[in-house]
């Protein structure tokens, strides 16, 4: 099936988040820089523009070697419309809390989609 081909070969975990989140993840070993110097993470600080975040999101979700994309929830809220429109099965999109922004399930796009599915059933 086409779906199977879609996730074979996806191996990396990508991160879009603030300094603490990204550092922690990199420390755990998630970070990857390939031959073309492309990174699988984006550090978002107060100088990062929404455009840059969008760009990174688009890049990570269209790359074929990323299986999971983690994004701080407050950063996700900055690009909320794009997140809401995201409907690919791969990479899996996970909203994670940051040190200053605890997890709020009401904002999680995934949970909203899942709720909708249950309503339909």
């Amino acid at each position: 099936m086409a779906a199977e081909a879609a996730y074979k070969g996806r191996q990396l975990i990508a991160v879009i988040g603030d300094e603490d989140t990204v550092t922690g993840m990199l420390l755990a070993g998630v970070g990857h820089v390939d031959k073309k110097q492309k990174k699988n993470f984006l550090l978002v600080d107060n100088k990062t523009t929404v455009g840059q975040i969008e760009e990174a999101f688009l890049e990570f979700t269209t790359r074929t070697d990323i299986a999971v994309l983690m994004i701080n929830q407050h950063v996700a809220s900055d690009i909320r419309p794009i997140i809401e429109a995201y409907d690919q099965a791969f990479p899996a999109l996970l909203e994670i809390p940051s040190k200053d922004h605890p997890y709020d399930p009401k904002q999680d796009s995934m949970l909203k989609k899942i709720e909708k599915m249950f309503e339909r059933d």
Partner: protein
């Protein structure tokens, strides 16, 4: 702060990667993510300078977090995949229920009505034949009785060829 810088600078190859396996659940192919260590730990020597213990714990915690998150990601993707399958199955059910079954039912009804019609026609024909036979029989008996009364019939009479008994043509 300097630690963060050091960590950021030192990225080369990812050590934690994700493997995808295929799980078959009730006939649906579901992807399952599994995290695994790939190669040496880049940051093995990190934190030897200061706060090494804390760093070790921090690293371990983040790794645990990642494992849980990978599991969560698996469940999420399974969910989305299953949802697609459910939608497809629903479409199939609707098509069968509203198109295919009515068509077959109509064909069935038609066949039954045709058979009924044929059966009725057969009945009618049968009745007609029976009636005609009865009528002919009655006519013959009356004719025979009449001739006897007139004393025309004797046991010897062979009759001429023209009176020979032959099957009446059934005319309607």
């Amino acid at each position: 702060r300097s630690l963060n810088q050091a960590v950021l600078q030192n990225v080369n190859k990812a050590q934690i990667k994700v493997k995808t396996k295929n799980d078959n659940v009730a006939g649906v192919n579901l992807p399952v993510f599994e995290s695994f260590q790939d190669g040496a730990d880049s940051y093995e020597l990190a934190g030897l300078a200061k706060g090494g213990q804390q760093l070790k714990r921090l690293k371990a915690n983040y790794q645990k977090a990642i494992n849980l998150l990978v599991e969560l990601a698996s469940l999420q993707t399974s969910f989305i995949t299953l949802d697609e399958v459910i939608k497809t199955t629903n479409r199939r059910v609707n098509a069968i229920e509203h198109v295919i079954i009515p068509k077959i039912e109509r064909t069935l009804a038609y066949i039954i009505s045709e058979l009924d019609e044929l059966e009725r026609e057969e009945f009618y024909r049968l009745k007609k034949v029976q009636d005609k036979k009865k009528k002919i029989k009655k006519q013959k008996e009356e004719a025979a009785a009449e001739r006897k009364a007139k004393g025309l019939d004797t046991a010897d009479e062979g009759g001429d060829i023209f009176n020979e008994d032959h099957d009446e043509d059934l005319l309607f």
